[in-house]
Amino acid sequence: MTASPGRSLWDDARRRLMGNRAAVLGMILLGGLVLVSALGPALVPYAYDAVNKTDVWVPPLVHGHVLGTDALGRDLFVRLLMGLRVSLAIGLVATLVSLVIGVAWGATAGFLGGVVDEVMMRLVDVLYTLPFIFFVILLMVTFGSNILLIFVAIGAVEWLTMSRIVRGQTLSLKQKEFIEAARAAGLGPGAIVLGHIIPNLLGPVVVYVTLTIPAVILAESFLSFLGLGVQPPMASLGTLIASGAQDMEMAWWLLVFPSATMVLTLMCFNFIGDGLRDAIDPKDR
């Protein structure tokens, strides 16, 4: 005789998520985008930085260039895939940076409470009111545009909201019986935070992470558009749109395809994020 399988909260959430058509579509499309950006550049017979002076400004579907070429005769399709790869990577890594800082900060503040909490969160309040993008610009200008700095700079901006969410969750979690039980069992504060608090605040964190990734991609593209992000010949969606905007009178495809890719990517993440929020936190519907 088999026991009827139990349904965990995560099972329920997954079922709700799979019932959300926009979110499922977003996941499928995003999976496709990730796949082509990961494998594509190896399959296209051009290198992303290969200059070809004879095939300059070739329109789409001519001379074997699916999406045409740019002012230096570089194949747009392969550059677009590389740019997508760079943008996705930046989105992922910078979000991870913000995740680590935000969770550590918020959980510490929420768990310790009292004066520590007051000071830590007041600092977040102060940072919150800064026009941060201007500081990121300043940072990029000051220390030059290297890709590592982009990760750090954007990640350092995005952790604020994360820390607020995590702190709020921690405050309510630490009142729960199982934390008291852990304390009674003799666990130290570090072990309780790592082993019991953090695993239990995953839900809202996951939701916020999926909404942070597009925000980061947007921020990076914004910097790249101003000429402060990824540097040539490397491409990101932002640099492609920026150079496309410069050459659009000559070659509309250089603007249109990167823009469309950008919008599609952001939409996928937003659909998934909205879907996850509805699935994990149904009371907000």
Binding site: D125, V126, L127, T129, L130, P131, I133, F134, F135, I137, L138, L139, V141, T142, F143, P214, L218, S221, F222, F225, L226, G227, L228, G238, I241, A242, G244, A245, M248, E249, W252, L255, V256, S259, M262, V263, L266, M267, N270, F271
Partner: protein
């Protein structure tokens, strides 16, 4: 109320102080100086210039001097635009940004609120789905995508509107940049309005008004709208921040003589005083608008207890 305002102003002081400090030391940590140019200056001249601006003294001392000057309202001279002070640059260029941003937020409110109300009234109808679809897509299209695309279509191809330039703020020159700035705000405002409206329309006092036989437009203008728009008031601060960020891109693409265009250029040229002055100005602006939003909220909704 007075206590709330003074408390918030007290929080604003360390924030602005942080802005000044961060900006000062970040700018100074940057390699290069405002006096780098194609022609190499002789060491004596460079020394003289540095001494003239007080940059030969220890950094901490310079910092103290700068903070002191800022407290007296003196942001110093620009290091690149020889005949201008930072305040003059702010005064000359901010009106352009203000006019763009102000028009954009007005346009966004008019369009966003109308769309949001209509969507809420026809909930789950075709119009609702249409508006919400546009809103969802709208937040995903960044300004640096809409701006060049609109220029390509309405400027270069159709030639209905100029591609850029300010032209003294002529209407034709304003249409595209203002539209670009307004679009993401329209998306957010219509969503906020719709959500607020749906909540309000389900409340008891609206049901009472309906039961009393008031016509729909009286219910909307007399009762529902002001309550439904409350979330918008607290959106004022974030909206201003969004417009400032957007203005960086828009002023660059449309080649407009606003502050946003100045910021990146000045930072690249290491025009220390201009960059710091602009940062302080922006931070103060965002702080002020946030505070204004909170005060308005409390005035409009007496249930809110400011603490």
């Amino acid at each position: 109320m007075l206590r709330f305002i003074s408390r918030r102003l007290l929080v604003a002081i360390p924030t602005l102080f942080l802005v000044v400090t961060l900006a000062f030391f970040m700018m100074r940590a940057a390699p290069g100086s405002p006096f780098d140019s194609d022609r190499k200056l002789s060491p004596e001249i460079e020394k003289n210039i540095m001494a003239h601006y007080g940059m030969d003294r220890p950094l901490i001392e310079q910092y103290q001097t700068y903070v002191g000057n800022v407290l007296r309202g003196d942001f110093g001279p620009s290091l690149k635009y020889k005949d201008k002070t930072v305040l003059q640059i702010l005064k000359e260029n901010f009106p352009v940004s203000l006019r763009l941003g102000g028009s954009a937020i007005l346009l966004a409110m008019a369009v966003g609120i109308s769309l949001g109300v209509m969507a809420a009234l026809r909930r789950n109808g075709l119009l609702d789905y249409g508006v919400m679809g546009v809103a969802i897509v709208g937040v995903c299209i960044p300004t640096f995508v809409t701006a060049p695309l609109l220029v390509l279509v309405f400027g270069s191809t159709l030639q209905w509107l100029p591609n850029g330039g300010w032209n003294g703020g002529a209407l034709a020159n304003m249409i595209l940049p203002v539209t670009v700035l307004a679009l993401p705000q329209v998306a957010i405002i219509s969503r906020l309005t719709r959500a607020g409206m749906i909540e309000v329309l389900g409340s008891n006092y609206i049901r009472t008004a309906r039961a009393r036989g008031l016509p729909l437009h009286r219910i909307l203008t007399g009762h529902a709208l002001q309550a439904a728009l409350m979330p918008l008031v607290s959106y004022l601060g974030p909206a201003a921040a969004g417009l400032l960020t957007g203005s960086l891109v828009v002023e660059k693409i449309f080649n407009l003589p606003g502050l946003g265009k100045f910021f990146v250029i000045s930072a690249l040229q290491r025009d220390y005083t201009v960059v710091m002055g602009m940062l302080i100005f922006y931070a103060g602006l965002v702080l002020a608008l946030n505070l204004l939003g909170d005060i308005l909220y409390a005035l409009l909704d007496p249930r809110v207890r400011l603490s």
